[in-house]
Symmetry: C2
Subunit: 224 residues, 2 copies
Amino acid sequence: MPLSSPAPASSSNSRAHRRSPKGDRRRQQILDAAMQVFARDGYSNASIGEVAAQVGLTLPGLLHYFPSKTEMLLAVLDMRDQRSPRLQDYPQTLTLEQAVAGTPLHWSKLFEQLLLVNRSNVDIPGVIKAFSLLNAESLSQDHPAQSWFHHRSELMLELITCSIRQGQQAGEILASVDPAQIAVELVSMMDGLQLLWLRHPDRVDLDGHFQRYLERVQRTIAAC
Amino acid sequence: MPLSSPAPASSSNSRAHRRSPKGDRRRQQILDAAMQVFARDGYSNASIGEVAAQVGLTLPGLLHYFPSKTEMLLAVLDMRDQRSPRLQDYPQTLTLEQAVAGTPLHWSKLFEQLLLVNRSNVDIPGVIKAFSLLNAESLSQDHPAQSWFHHRSELMLELITCSIRQGQQAGEILASVDPAQIAVELVSMMDGLQLLWLRHPDRVDLDGHFQRYLERVQRTIAAC
DNA sequence: GTCTATAGGAGGATAGAC
DNA sequence: GTCTATCCTCCTATAGAC
């Protein structure tokens, strides 16, 4: 249920694909390999030649599908946008502005969704590793993934802030709570926990720790 | 007061320096420049040629002080070990084993120290950026900083866990609290918060958010 | 669509003069 | 201690044949 919502007809912002069924399979294959390589080496240290070899292509062969390394990265980010589990009732086309403008999710529903998303991440450590690396790397100057991560984190912050604020207006959350504080906390905890989990997979239980944290947050901010 | 404790005579694990006063100043100058470059580009994407230029040297000139890029990185990490504010009563020579074996800090004292360390980080965004980038980057395979970050996070986890456990034995912390949970949370929050702060310096208040988080943790785990 | 061949550059590191 | 000159490896990207 949390992974629902239909895929959009086509990503609006991406360059038009020539829709050949065989070519699409290749593209997909390449992007999967790319993510594996990014998970191991990050972006700037990764070699797209190795991605090519991994799918049985030469470098120029691969560049036929993605004309540059940067284009390949952006395609990987696009893929994440479309494949990642979505918050219920929030289709993939959601923009930051729509999230702020629209009716926010009920906060307890949002928390539940965050928990489920986090839980599903346990099964895809490679993906999480790639995006944790990219998340930090994108802080460096003129990184091609900078705006993607910037926008994404902004979206998350707004989403949570709005839900909390609405919970306050409904009298379900203490008025003394700062919505922005909770939003920043949740995003920080998710990202930081992922890093620590990747470094100490045996010692850190991604799902368990986040669950217990979230429960404490809930108990602390709930009215009465 | 939190920044106390004397610098050790010389870092035990590092290659012996030829102690020339002028050379030491140069070394220092290079390491400062290196950290700036690492803060902007990360490690693997950084060019030590640029570090050289920044201190008015050519590449071979710089390699006279640090024979390889890796050695330079390790020297930067060493510097962090020696310069960073230390937990009161815990001199720099503390090893993981000693921390576990010795008498742990009182938990409220530890929390206070964490708060102060975090607060002092606000003034050195460049250093924090370099180390946040390196922290993630070091997850990649065979990264020269891998063991440094691994050991460091392990140390932090043990330090916190022991303090919490001792608080429980003293009856000051609820027995129902899992010490490892709190340790993982604190480390994750600090690292995650730094990342989000670096991305949204205007929106995220590093000191304020951590302070409010820590206060809530304290209220939640305190007995009675 | 996929290849061979090649251009073009950047970065790390060494040799050896001063 | 610092330089010039050089080497070598690796990488992205293009040209053009099949």
